[in-house]
């Protein structure tokens, strides 16, 4: 230590200045190279238009989702108000509204919690797989399932409501939910009982997840239980029944 200190003291000040200047130069060169193009491994010219296309498509999707929600709301209010107030009509449109609420087609607010999953900040070892250090679709699905098991009555992933048709798919290091690209960090929001957090953290499946992903690879898992409760968006996608039709005889417990 003292030998090193002695050496540093013996370096003339101009040498330190030069050293600092070269250091700064090093930073500048690196910053410049990084700014000149996207990541070294993907310098293909096809990339830029593709990224622009994805962003553009996503923007279109947001607008389409809004149109779907607006149209559904308009139809609902027409059906509720415009039909002469016949008792049977009123009853039917109430049933329809309840069915839409149960199906996830209506935004909801209620008590609940948010779990945020974020990519690992650990250094990927030389013999490691970089994908293991990113939040995967399977991770998101595990957390959603664990929340259902803990008593959640509604779940959303970033802006996408989890409904009967929801698939969570990995594409490279990104996750697609309901056909929409969602970016990390992933916020899984659930409406559920006050005991949900306790139940969740005592489930063996959740403990496994924390061990195998959080502890082993440094996947970040954070919780929040906002006092004001949480909000879930409405599902704004299509409800395809092209190959299937409703079974003719509804069971007596069918209508909510």
């Amino acid at each position: 230590m003292t030998a090193l200190a002695g050496r540093i003291r013996s370096i003339p000040s101009w040498q330190i200045t030069l050293g600092l200047a070269l250091l700064a130069l090093g930073f500048l060169i690196a910053a410049q190279m990084a700014a000149e193009g996207p990541r070294v491994q993907y310098t293909s010219q096809e990339r830029t238009p593709l990224v622009a296309t994805v962003l553009d498509l996503q923007k279109q999707q947001d607008a389409l989702k809004k149109q779907v929600l607006d149209a559904r709301a308009a139809i609902a209010s027409l059906e509720a108000a415009g039909q002469g107030g016949a008792a049977v009509t009123k009853q039917l449109s109430d049933q329809l509204q309840n069915a839409q609420i149960a199906a996830g087609l209506v935004p909801m607010s209620g008590p609940g919690l948010v779990i945020q999953l974020s990519d690992s900040t650990l250094q990927v070892p030389a013999d490691g797989n970089a994908q293991d250090y990113l939040v995967s679709g399977a991770d998101v699905l595990t957390v959603v399932d664990q929340l259902w098991a803990a008593g959640a009555e509604g779940v959303a992933i970033n802006g996408e409501r989890v409904v009967v048709s929801t698939a969570v798919v990995d594409i490279g290091g990104s996750v697609v939910v309901n056909g929409a690209y969602v970016a990390a960090p992933y916020q899984v929001t659930a409406i559920g009982p006050k005991t949900m957090f306790d139940t969740l953290t005592h489930q063996p499946g959740f403990a496994d997840f924390i061990r195998s992903r959080g502890e082993a690879f440094g996947i970040g898992v954070q919780y929040a239980t906002p006092d004001v409760g949480v909000d879930l968006p409405a599902y704004a996608g299509s409800m395809n029944l092209r190959y299937g039709r409703p079974t003719a005889t509804p069971s007596t417990s069918a209508a909510p």
């Binding site: 930073f27 149209a71 039909q83 609940g112 690992s120 009555e153 697609v176 690209y181």
Partner: protein, 227 residues
Amino acid sequence: MGRGRGPLAVGLVLAILGFLVVVQARSQAQDQGLAQLSVQDLTELVANVTTRNNQLREEVATLAQQQQQVQSAAQRGDTSTSQIRTDLEHVLAWSGVLGVTGQGVQVTVNGALPASAVGQLVNELRNAGAEAIALNGVRVVPGVVVSGDPGSLTISGKPLIGTTGTLVLVAVGQPETLAGSLSRAGGLVAQLAAQYPSVSVRVDPQDLLQVPATDRSLTPVLGRPRL
């Protein structure tokens, strides 16, 4: 080391160090944006989002038509309830409150698969456009979760697989699309076969399948709609 070269060497080392620090910092910050995706991934993403957008366009068109019908019925003073009944039936069947009948695929699993693999099968079928899914006669709706150890899986707390040891998954949808998504080269069935050699997974297109209604209540108790 000569007297004149000393500072230069130190400077050079520092410069390289600076360079490395920046490069390192950038590769550490695993930028989760689109910037990290390869051309192939981006292409797949474009295809995925385009499919959804097309579905949304169809939905917008259907809803516009529906809105017009309801509107003109209201203007005529027509109290016909058939449109509402149709909508209601559609929502109930799609969401799982009513049963669904139609063509699709049957997936037969013999052997002990872990719960996560069953979840993957369901997820893959949904991604391929399945309209209704059941596992050994239990309709899969939000909140229905397969858990437990391989060989003694449960579905929403009840045993999933009976004494036969067979898991039958049925999905209504376009049979070729559903079967193709599972059975394609490198697809989920191939992955499962490689991972669990003792398990057999068969995928059969079917002309007529019955997917039952759920026995769960989907009506929220704690949440309030934001209308």
